[in-house]
């Protein structure tokens, strides 16, 4: 009887559709006309006066809730700096990994109990929120500070994760450092490479790069098979970095350069640049960014945070060795690195499941192919 009671409660609570067909749980997005009115009111001002208007309205709101996947040292620094500049606005940051952030916003949206005003997260999650029309359009002065490639319909990149191999400098001499992505397939790296099982965005970008730089599909497939045969798999970029520093593995196929840099500064024998300070490989920079929610309860504060992240917030990111999306004095995170365009289109194409492809490639499923 108790079981039946609980179950009916559940059915009452749940919507009809399940996830059996496509694996997705549907969500309706919360839209608040009140919030839109505030966004419009701020953005109707001339650009130079928008910030002042936002500060005035945000102070009346008094609070700001941000959901972010920034690591906690960065999130804490952002929290502190924002609070110092706007002591009248109580900022509160919920930290989670990017999937959790997306999950939470969708869940809360569906239940009409949205807690977040602004969101700061990774490329795929921001794209997904954008695709579901959860984000409000920002036209403020921050747009002008970033390059066109950092502007997305309803969110803006505030930082980049740069993909490059990392190695243990005690175990890999400068002459043995891979000079191209193809080099990872060399037999001299047999058993010496670590792959991360969720790096499908890297997998897609390298594949796309090869296919658009004169390699045939058959060549690309062969390269990937040989890279996988050279490698073993470890979960977590930061775990890999710790093991790389400890000498468990000599070479990491790809890590975020800021993780390598932070480890290096703590004294680990790791690097992603040659001793001359350059990297010979084309690097891919994944944009991560900031957005304000259409269902925000503190819209002016959300707008202010968005604008702030593209301005003062950039310095906070640089102080922790992240790669900012605007020009910030003292930023050396891209020194010696040459960037190849990040394949936004391929990654957001709904017809291709890159996570599944990469997973099959790693498991050596015979049909695995790196096609687009």
């Amino acid at each position: 009887m108790s079981a039946a009671g609980a179950f009916s409660l559940l059915l009452l609570a749940g919507c009809g559709a399940g996830a059996a067909d496509d694996g997705r749980i549907g969500a309706a997005v919360v839209v608040s006309s009140q919030a839109q009115k505030v966004y419009d009111e701020i953005q109707a001002q001339p650009p130079a006066r928008q910030r002042a208007k936002a500060v005035q309205l945000a102070k009346e709101e008094g609070r700001l809730e941000v959901y972010t996947s920034l690591t906690d040292d960065v999130a804490n620094a952002v929290d502190k700096a924002f609070h110092r500049q706007f002591p009248g606005i109580r900022i509160s940051m919920f930290r989670g990994n990017s999937e959790t952030i997306l999950q939470r916003i969708l869940q809360e949206s569906q239940a009409r109990k949205l807690g977040a005003d602004a969101v700061e997260s990774d490329f795929l999650e921001m794209s997904s929120l954008d695709g579901q029309k959860a984000l409000a359009h920002y036209t403020g002065p921050g747009q002008a500070r970033v390059a066109a490639s950092s502007r997305f319909p309803d969110w803006t990149a505030d930082r980049f994760n740069v993909f490059l191999p990392a190695w243990n400098t005690d175990l890999v001499k400068p002459a043995d450092v891979p000079r191209s992505w193809e080099a990872l397939a060399d037999s001299r790296y047999k058993g010496r490479i670590t792959l991360e099982p969720t790096d499908s965005d890297w997998y897609e970008n390298v594949t796309h790069y090869w296919l658009t730089h004169g390699r045939s599909q058959a060549q690309v497939d062969r390269l990937w098979r040989r890279i996988v045969a050279n490698s073993h798999v470890t979960k977590g970029h930061t775990t890999i970095m710790a093991l790389l520093g400890a000498g468990q593995t000599p070479l990491d196929s790809m890590n975020y350069t800021y993780i390598t840099e932070q480890a290096r500064l703590k004294g680990a024998p790791v690097d992603y640049r040659l001793p001359d300070g350059t990297s010979p490989l084309p690097a891919f920079a994944r944009p991560n960014g900031v957005g304000m929610l259409r269902g925000a309860q503190h819209p002016a504060a959300a707008w202010l945070f968005y604008d702030w992240m593209l301005h003062e917030g950039q310095k906070v990111l640089v102080s922790l060795h992240l790669t900012p999306s605007t020009k910030v004095p003292g930023d050396t995170s891209l020194a010696g690195v040459h960037l190849a365009p990040f394949d936004v289109k391929g990654l957001t194409d709904p017809s291709t499941d890159w996570d599944k492809k990469y997973d099959e490639q790693l498991r050596g499923v015979a049909s695995a192919k790196g096609t687009g």
Binding site: M1, S2, A3, G5, A6, L9, L10, A13, G14, G16, A17, G18, A19, A20, D21, D22, G23, R24, I25, T71, D72, N76, M93, G96, N97, T100, Q103, R104, Q107, Q110, A111, K113, G115, L124, S128, P197, T198, S200, V233, T234, K235, G236, H237, T238, T239, M241, A242, L243, A246, G247, Q248, I259, A263, K266, G267, A268, D355, K356, R363, V365
Partner: protein, 585 residues
């Protein structure tokens, strides 16, 4: 319904009522209230996430029955066959290893005059306290073929080779088995304590050899506990993620949970496939439950009877020093090595192999860092509250429900048993999702509070509580309750004054277990916590995500210290409450 209000019936009559009928009615009412209430809560805790899981696995986008999730999960390209074989081999191997180790140690602890009992108790708890992610990481630093300290410091100099490899299936079984052995130890200790050794003694007096006694008397008597423990550990290994995630992937050894991790981590997350894998786990676990209840029914044995008994300790005699040395070795392998590596790592800025340079750079920097973390105090407070709360709620529910399952003929009690067991196979992430889904929609102020975490922990650890409680209840002879009833005790009095104290050994063991594992719970917490309700495991995860492996090690060391203190306090309180302490004998 009556319109007149009656004064509430006194629930605990201090003097025997004159009319037996009225007394019977009162007793019945309270019994129905407590047992019924507990059953409703257990049913609710279990059904909500299971219902959610089944809904998302079997219902398609247009609300029709669909099996496409299974096609995706087990179809072409999924290598599901190998994956299932790996899962079973891993789970079976770890459970068997843990059971043999745990049961042997429990026997030595309770029934022999083995030296270093305190050491054994510590050895049986510390691996339980260390979070899985940290325990697996510690074993990487110990058993990696190239940098593992066991290889580089012991085997390489002696044998010239590095035979230890934690990334193999055997390595996984070793680490998981050692991590689980404490569960077996706790379960089996309480079983041995509740067992009247006079049966063995009579067998021995009648001329049975030691082996015969073991085979014909001891093992059959222990069967309920052994079966319970085996089942629990088998299912827990099936469900665990850290070891397969950190060690298995290195050589491409995939199991159910690493597949679940992938489909949930993939973009967009495939909840249907995750559900299909979880249903696979559920089926295997249900088979385990049925098998175990069949084994239990083939002769349950009451071993706690009305007769007084005082177990005689077997004197090990000449074997004593050797067994003692074995205990020290076991302590060294399960506690000193992994915790030692953690302490070592916690003193470094970034992990490096032991060298003069590394030793010179040692400092307490990481500990200072932990104390400076802004959420450290909140997290500690919340963890203690939740751990104590969940352990108390679960053990109370489990005691009542297992009494109903074991002792009564209430219809549907076997279903209840199964229900109370199902949460064990629901991946934490799915549980977290289900709970947030439900409590976001229920008009109760639970979402975003510690309450939702408490519900989650109670759900997750109910199966464990049930195993501890039902093992204790199965062992108890009915005559004790009957004599209490004959002497006029109400049901509640009997339950409180007879059953609980006699089962206290098992209940306290369960309480300690749940307290400890609550501190580690992460997978559901991560979806359910909010600013202000962070717990220690969140703190650990933050450091892990952040790549601060050495700070993480410092948190691990502090956690071990804190929980050892908590467990010692619980043990002391338990002893006062009726838990027999072996060391005091």
């Amino acid at each position: 319904m009556t319109t007149t209000t009656r004064p509430p019936a006194p629930t605990l009559p201090s003097v025997p009522r004159p009319r037996p009928l009225a007394r019977l009615r009162d007793r019945f009412n309270l019994q129905v209230l407590v047992v019924g209430g507990a059953m409703v809560v257990v049913g609710y805790l279990a059904v909500v996430p299971v219902g959610f899981l089944l809904h998302d696995t079997f219902i398609g986008s247009r609300s029709e029955l669909s099996f496409r999730a299974f096609g995706r999960a087990y179809g072409a390209g999924s290598q599901a066959g190998t994956m299932m074989l790996n899962s079973l081999a891993f789970a079976f191997g770890s459970a068997a290893f843990a059971l043999v180790v745990g049961a042997t140690l429990a026997y030595l602890q309770v029934r022999t005059d083995i030296p270093f009992k305190g050491l054994l108790f510590a050895a049986s708890l510390v691996p339980l306290i260390v979070p899985g992610i940290l325990y697996a990481a510690a074993w990487i630093f110990l058993g990696d073929p190239s940098i593992g300290l066991v290889n580089t410091l012991v085997f390489k100099p002696v044998l010239g080779a590095s035979p230890v490899n934690v990334y193999s299936l055997w390595g996984m079984i070793w680490v998981q088995g050692l991590h689980l052995a404490p569960v077996a130890f706790l379960l089996m200790t309480s079983a041995f304590r509740g067992m009247d050794p006079s049966l063995e003694e009579s067998a021995a007096m009648s001329g049975a050899s030691r082996r015969t006694v073991l085979r014909r008397v001891t093992l059959p008597l222990l069967r309920p506990a052994l079966v319970s423990a085996a089942l629990l550990m088998f299912v827990q290994s099936l469900e665990s993620f850290e070891v397969p995630g950190l060690l298995g992937l290195q050589n491409g050894i995939y199991v159910f949970t690493s597949r679940i991790y992938f489909v949930l981590r993939a973009f967009p997350a495939d909840y249907g496939s995750a559900g299909a894998y979880a249903v696979g786990l559920l089926v295997i676990a249900a088979a385990g439950v049925l098998l175990s209840s069949w084994l239990q029914r083939r002769g349950g044995h009451a071993t706690v009877t009305g007769k007084a008994f005082r177990p005689q300790q077997i004197e090990l005699g000449r074997a004593r020093p050797w067994v003692g040395a074995g205990v020290v070795l076991y302590f060294a392998v399960t506690v000193v090595l992994p915790v030692g590596v953690l302490v070592y790592a916690s003193l470094l800025r970034s992990y490096a192999q032991p060298s003069l340079k590394a030793l010179r750079g040692m400092s307490l920097h990481n500990y200072g860092e932990v104390l400076r973390l802004p959420i450290a105090v909140t997290a500690l407070k919340n963890s203690v509250l939740l751990g104590v709360g969940a352990a108390t709620v679960v053990m109370f529910l489990a005691a009542v429900v297992s009494w109903a399952v074991v002792r009564t003929r209430i219809p549907g009690r076997r279903l209840l048993d199964l229900l109370a067991f199902t949460p064990i196979v629901i991946p934490g992430l799915v549980l977290g999702l289900a709970l947030s889904f439900v409590y976001l929609r229920v008009p109760l102020p639970i979402y975003g509070t510690l309450g939702i975490l408490l519900i989650s922990y109670c759900t997750r650890y109910l199966p464990y509580g049930m195993r501890y409680a039902s093992t204790a209840m199965t062992q108890m002879s009915k005559e004790l309750e009957e004599s209490a009833t004959v002497f006029g005790a109400s049901w509640w009095q009997t339950f409180r004054r007879i059953l609980v104290p006699l089962a206290s050994s098992g209940l306290v063991a369960g309480w300690i277990y749940i307290l400890v594992v609550s501190f580690r719970e992460l997978s559901s917490t991560i979806l359910l916590y909010s600013p202000g309700t962070e717990v220690l495991s969140v703190l650990i995860w933050e450091q892990f995500e952040n790549g601060q492996l050495t700070t993480l090690a410092a948190i691990g060391v502090l956690m071990v210290a804190l929980l050892v203190v908590l467990v010692l306090v619980a043990h002391r309180l338990g002893a006062r409450f009726g838990l027999q302490s072996d060391s005091s004998r």
